[in-house]
C-alpha cells in the first residue's frame, strides 16, 4: 500500500525527477496536470483525478531511474502513451501520483526488410509505421481503433485488428520486448534476451514472459521497446483514397438472416482466402462512413429504413499477395460460399447502384482505407461522445447468434441505448476457430446518469453472458466487468491466487498503475 503522502514530499521528489528528465520535461502546474485527470471512459469520468507530476522521459534508462524514485518514496506511477484509451486505464485513480508520459520515446528503431520485423518505441503509432513499411512492401495489420494508437499500447491492451481472420490477434505479432519492471529492473523477452541473437524468436528461454505484460493493464511494468512481425503488403507505397489499394478487392455478402450470416462468416474463415472478414455493425456504417456529422445524423434519424440494407452484411477483402490470380480464385470461392449459405455477393460498384438514396455520396474511401490505416473508427463516438463495448466475448462463431439475441433482450432494459438499431460486430479469428463479438453502446459524457447506467449495464450483461453462454471475456482490461466477474467464479480461484502472487513479486510496493487490474 502507498504509505506516504506525495504532497509532504513534493520538493524532494520533484527535484529528483527533474534531475532525471531535465527541467523542460517535468511539470507540476495545474494546467499541465488537469488534462490527464480523465479519459473518455465512464470510469475516469465519474471521478476525474489529476496526477501530482507529469514527467516526459526520453529513454529506457530514465524510466528505470523514475521507477527507483517512485519505489523509494512509494509513490504510484501511471503511464500514458498516445492517450487513445476508452477504458480509464491510463489516468490516475488516486490522488498523488507520477504520470509518466511516453511521448519522447517516439522512434522507429529498425525496420528489417529481409527478416520482416520492426522495432519501435511506445509512442510510435500504427499510421506512422504503416507509412514507413508500406514503402518497403510490408505492413502491420491495422488496428480496429484509430491508427493514432500506439502500437505497443494496442498490443499489450489486447487490441484487435481487422485482419484477425488471417493474422490472428495483434499480439501474436510480438517478437520481443524491452520491459522496465515496477522496481526499475530491465527484462528483455524473446531472442534478444540472449546477447546479440537478434529479433526472431518470441518464446523463452523458459516460459514466455511477454504474456505477463499482455492484459495486465500496465500493472507489471513499462514496455519501452517492442519488435513486431511485419507482413507482406501489396497495396503500394501510398494509400489510394478513391479506390482500393493495388491488388485488393472488396466484397459485401448480404444475408436475410443472422444464422446464415454466421455460417457465411465461418466458411469464409475456413476457406483461408481473405485478409479481412467481418460483420460490420450498423452503427459503424451509419456513424463511421460519412465524412460529416450532419450526414451521420441524417442517416441515424432514418436508421429504420437502412436496417434491411445493413443488418446482416459481411465485408470481405481479398489481397493478391503472391499472384494476381489469387483475386479471381478468391472471388470464385466467395461466390460459392454465398451460394451455399444463401447470401448475395456485391462488389462496391454494385452496392453504389442499389444502396438507399440517403446512403448516396458516402465516401467510398472510408470503406477502402479504414481497414488499412484506421481513421473512421473515432467517428462512431461523435454521436454521443462516450463509447464502450458493453459486451466483448470470444466464443465459437455460431454462438454469436445466441449472444446477439441475449443482448437484444437485455438492451430493452437499458434506458439510453437505441435498441431499435441493434447489431454487433463479429470477426472470425484464426480462420474462424473462434469469433470476436462486440456490442458497442454510446453514452453522453455530460450525463452522470448515463455514465452510471452504462457501467451497471456493462457489468450486468457480462455476468449474464458468462452464466448463460460460457463466453470468455476478451478484454481483460474492462475492469468493471472482467476481474470483478471472473474473480467470483470458483474455478478461477487458483488463477486468481497466482495472478496476485505475480503482482506482488513484480511490484512489492504496489506502485504501478494501482487499481486498474487487481484491487
Amino acid at each position: 500500500m502507498v504509505e506516504l503522502k506525495l504532497s509532504d514530499l513534493h520538493p524532494e521528489v520533484y527535484s529528483k525527477l527533474e534531475k532525471i528528465v531535465g527541467k523542460e520535461n517535468i511539470s507540476d502546474d495545474p494546467s499541465i496536470l488537469i488534462v490527464h485527470s480523465r479519459d473518455q471512459s465512464p470510469f475516469a469520468n465519474l471521478k476525474p483525478t489529476p496526477p501530482e507530476f507529469v514527467v516526459l522521459p526520453e529513454s529506457t534508462e530514465q524510466i528505470q531511474e523514475i521507477m527507483k524514485v517512485s519505489n523509494e518514496y512509494k509513490i504510484p506511477v501511471v503511464v500514458q502513451n498516445t492517450g487513445v484509451n476508452v477504458a480509464g486505464c491510463c489516468v490516475p485513480s488516486e490522488i498523488g501520483s507520477i504520470l509518466v508520459h511516453l511521448r519522447r520515446l517516439n522512434h522507429i528503431i529498425e525496420i528489417d526488410n529481409r527478416n520482416m520485423f520492426a522495432t519501435v518505441q511506445p509512442h510510435v503509432n500504427y499510421a506512422e509505421l504503416q507509412a514507413e513499411t508500406m514503402k518497403k512492401g510490408l505492413w502491420l495489420p491495422a488496428p480496429a481503433a484509430p491508427s493514432t494508437v500506439g502500437i505497443i499500447s494496442n498490443m499489450l491492451y489486447c487490441g484487435m485488428s481487422w485482419c484477425m481472420v488471417k493474422y490472428g490477434y495483434e499480439r501474436r505479432a510480438i517478437i520481443s520486448m524491452t520491459w522496465v519492471t515496477p522496481e526499475g529492473k530491465l527484462i528483455k523477452t524473446g531472442s534478444p534476451s540472449l546477447k546479440d541473437l537478434g529479433h526472431f524468436w518470441w518464446n523463452g528461454p523458459g516460459p514466455d514472459l511477454k504474456g505477463l505484460l499482455i492484459g495486465s493493464v500496465g500493472e507489471l511494468g513499462i514496455c519501452t521497446e517492442m519488435t513486431v512481425k511485419l507482413f507482406p503488403w501489396v497495396g503500394g507505397a501510398k494509400l489510394r483514397l478513391e479506390e482500393p489499394p493495388e491488388n485488393t478487392k472488396f466484397f459485401i455478402i448480404s444475408y436475410r438472416s443472422g444464422e446464415k450470416m454466421l455460417l457465411g462468416l465461418q466458411e469464409l474463415g475456413r476457406a483461408d482466402i481473405a485478409t479481412i472478414v467481418t460483420r460490420m455493425p450498423m452503427e459503424w456504417s451509419i456513424l463511421g462512413m460519412p465524412k460529416s456529422y450532419e450526414k451521420s445524423k441524417e442517416l441515424w434519424n432514418n436508421k429504420e429504413q437502412l436496417k434491411t440494407f445493413l443488418q446482416y452484411n459481411i465485408f470481405v477483402c481479398l489481397q493478391a499477395i503472391t499472384s494476381h490470380k489469387q483475386l479471381a480464385y478468391g472471388e470464385k470461392v466467395i461466390k460459392q460460399i454465398a451460394k451455399e449459405t444463401n447470401g448475395l455477393v456485391f462488389n462496391p460498384e454494385m452496392l453504389q447502384k442499389i444502396r438507399p438514396k440517403n446512403m448516396e455520396g458516402i465516401q467510398q474511401e472510408g470503406m477502402f482505407n479504414e481497414f488499412f490505416r484506421a481513421k473512421i473508427s473515432p467517428r462512431i463516438m461523435r454521436f454521443k461522445g462516450g463509447f464502450m463495448p458493453a459486451f466483448f466475448p470470444q466464443e465459437p462463431i455460431i454462438n454469436s447468434l445466441k449472444s446477439e439475441n441475449l443482448m437484444e433482450e437485455t438492451l430493452k432494459e437499458f434506458p439510453i441505448y437505441p435498441h431499435d438499431l441493434y447489431s454487433s460486430c463479429v470477426v472470425p479469428v484464426d480462420m474462424g476457430h473462434f469469433g470476436l463479438h462486440e456490442l458497442d453502446i454510446f453514452y453522453d459524457q455530460n450525463s452522470p446518469e448515463e455514465l452510471k447506467a452504462t457501467l451497471e449495464f456493462a457489468g450486468k450483461v457480462q455476468k449474464l453472458a458468462q452464466s448463460q453462454h460460457n463466453t470468455w471475456p476478451a478484454h481483460n482490461e474492462w475492469k468493471s466487468y472482467h476481474w470483478d466477474v471472473v474473480k467470483e467464479i470458483p474455478e478461477f480461484k487458483i488463477q486468481k491466487l497466482i495472478t496476485e502472487k505475480v503482482k506482488n513479486l513484480f511490484d512489492p510496493n504496489k506502485i504501478m498503475n494501482p487499481g486498474k487490474w487487481l484491487k
Binding site: 494546467s31 488537469i34 508520459h101
Partner: protein, 390 residues
C-alpha cells in the same frame, strides 16, 4: 470565433481524445518524419499543448478547476492557431478546437488583458494603424512611380501592413502584375488601416472591430466592388472574420491567386516560361481557414516550365509556417522552429524554390532560413508571376 463557450461545454466534454488532431490524416501520411500537424504540441510536448489537452483545459476553466497562470498563458498563446487540429477533427468529430481556442484567448484577454507582446502591437495599431510601429505616412513608400492607379476603379488592392512595411517587393509585384494585365485598380491609401487580424487572433476582439469598422467604411465610401489581397491573413480576416460581426460583405473578396487563376483562364494570358521546380506552402489563413487550396496551384501550373513538386503535408494537412496568431511577436524562437521544420520538408522535395502566397509566411521562412542551410530559394508566388507576365 463566435461560439458561446458555455453552450459549447457539452461538445468540449465529448471530445473522445482519439488523437487524430495530433497528426496529419493517416490516409495521406507518407512518412514518420513529416507526419505532425500541431506545431504547439510537437514543440512543447506536454499533452496540454495539443488540441485534446486544450479542450480539457477549456472544460476545467468552465468548471473552475484551474486558474489563469503563466503556464496557462503560454499554452493558450504559444499556438499559431493554424487550424491543423480542426481540419482533422472536422472529418472525425464536431469539436472545432480552433474555435474553442480562439474563444479561450478572448476570455483570457477579458480577464487579464492582452499579453505584453500583443499589447505592444495593439498600441501600435491603435496609434499608427499598423502593428510594426511604423509611421502611417510611410505606408505607401513601397509604391513605384510607374504604377497606374485609377481613381474611380471598382477594384481595389488591399495591400496589408506586412506587404506595405516589411515585404514591399510583394506589394510592388502585385501592383505590377495587375498593371501588366491591364487591370484597372486603386488602393485605399491613405485610409487603408490594419485589417485587425493580429488583434482578432490574439483575443483583442473589440480593438479588431474598430479596424474592421474603419476599413469597411472606407471601402463603402469608395464604392469598391472587388477587393484583391496579397496577404492571406488580411484576406481571411475580410472573408471569414468580418462577416461574423457584420454579415455578408457588399463587395467581393479575392486572394490574388484566385483572381489571377480566374483571369488567366478567362483571358487566355500567355505567360513566359519559368523553368524551375517549385514547392508550394499552403498558408493557414488561405488554406485551412479560407479553404483556398487549388487556386495557387492552378496559377503556378499555368506558367510554362514550372514543375510543381509537392511536399508531403499539403492543403488540409499542411504544416504551418509558425508565425501567425501573435506567435512571431511573442515567441520568436518557437516561430522560427516551426518554420525550420517546414524548410526541412521543402528541402526533402529537391525543389529549387519554395514559394507561398502570404507575406507573413515568407518573412518567417526567410528569417528561419538564416539559421539553416537551405539549398533552395524562397520566393513569393507573386514575384514568380511578375517575372512571367513581364
Amino acid at each position: 470565433m463566435t461560439i458561446d463557450l458555455d453552450e459549447y461545454y457539452k461538445i468540449i466534454r465529448n471530445c473522445s481524445k482519439c488523437a487524430m488532431c495530433r497528426n496529419m490524416s493517416p490516409w495521406e501520411m507518407q512518412s514518420k518524419e513529416f507526419k505532425d500537424i500541431c506545431p504547439s504540441g510537437t514543440r512543447f510536448l506536454f499533452e496540454a499543448y495539443f488540441a485534446p489537452g486544450k479542450m480539457e483545459l477549456a472544460r476545467a476553466l468552465l468548471d473552475n478547476e484551474i486558474q489563469y497562470s503563466d503556464r496557462l498563458e503560454h499554452i493558450l498563446f504559444a499556438c499559431p492557431l493554424c487550424g491543423g487540429c480542426q481540419a482533422q477533427c472536422e472529418e472525425v468529430n464536431i469539436i472545432n478546437p480552433l474555435d474553442v481556442m480562439q474563444e479561450l484567448r478572448k476570455r483570457y484577454v477579458e480577464a487579464k488583458g492582452p499579453i505584453p507582446a500583443h499589447a505592444k502591437f495593439a498600441e501600435s495599431i491603435k496609434e499608427l494603424h499598423n502593428p510594426y510601429n511604423e509611421p502611417h505616412e510611410k505606408r505607401l513608400d513601397w509604391i513605384p512611380e510607374n504604377i497606374n492607379l485609377k481613381e474611380d476603379a471598382k477594384i481595389a488592392y488591399f495591400v496589408g501592413c506586412t506587404s506595405s512595411y516589411r515585404r514591399e517587393e510583394i506589394a510592388k509585384a502585385t501592383a505590377n502584375v495587375l498593371n501588366s494585365l491591364g487591370v484597372e485598380f486603386n488602393i485605399l491609401h491613405p485610409n487603408e488601416w490594419c485589417c485587425g487580424s493580429p488583434l482578432f487572433m490574439t483575443g483583442q476582439i473589440d480593438a479588431g472591430k474598430e479596424m474592421m469598422k474603419h476599413n469597411l467604411e472606407v471601402i463603402n465610401e469608395k464604392r469598391i466592388e472587388t477587393l484583391v489581397f496579397s496577404c492571406a491573413g488580411c484576406y481571411k480576416t475580410f472573408k471569414e472574420t468580418y462577416p461574423q460581426f457584420v454579415g455578408d460583405l457588399n463587395f467581393k473578396v479575392f486572394h490574388f491567386t484566385e483572381f489571377l487563376s480566374d483571369y488567366f483562364t478567362k483571358h487566355k494570358i500567355e505567360l513566359k516560361p519559368y523553368p524551375k521546380s517549385i514547392t508550394y506552402h499552403d498558408p493557414c489563413h488561405l488554406g485551412r481557414h479560407s479553404k483556398v487550396y487549388e487556386a495557387p496551384r492552378e496559377v503556378l501550373t499555368q506558367v510554362p516550365g514550372i514543375k510543381l513538386v509537392e511536399m508531403e503535408r499539403i492543403k488540409e494537412n499542411a504544416w504551418c509556417c509558425g508565425a501567425g496568431a501573435g506567435v512571431s511577436s511573442a515567441y520568436k524562437e518557437f516561430a522560427y522552429w516551426t518554420a525550420s521544420e517546414r524548410l526541412k520538408e521543402a528541402e526533402s522535395t529537391g525543389a529549387e524554390i519554395l514559394t507561398t502566397s502570404c507575406p507573413f509566411c515568407i518573412t518567417n521562412f526567410l528569417e528561419a532560413s538564416k539559421m539553416t542551410n537551405c539549398s533552395f530559394e524562397i520566393i513569393p508566388l507573386i514575384k514568380i508571376i511578375e517575372e512571367s507576365v513581364k
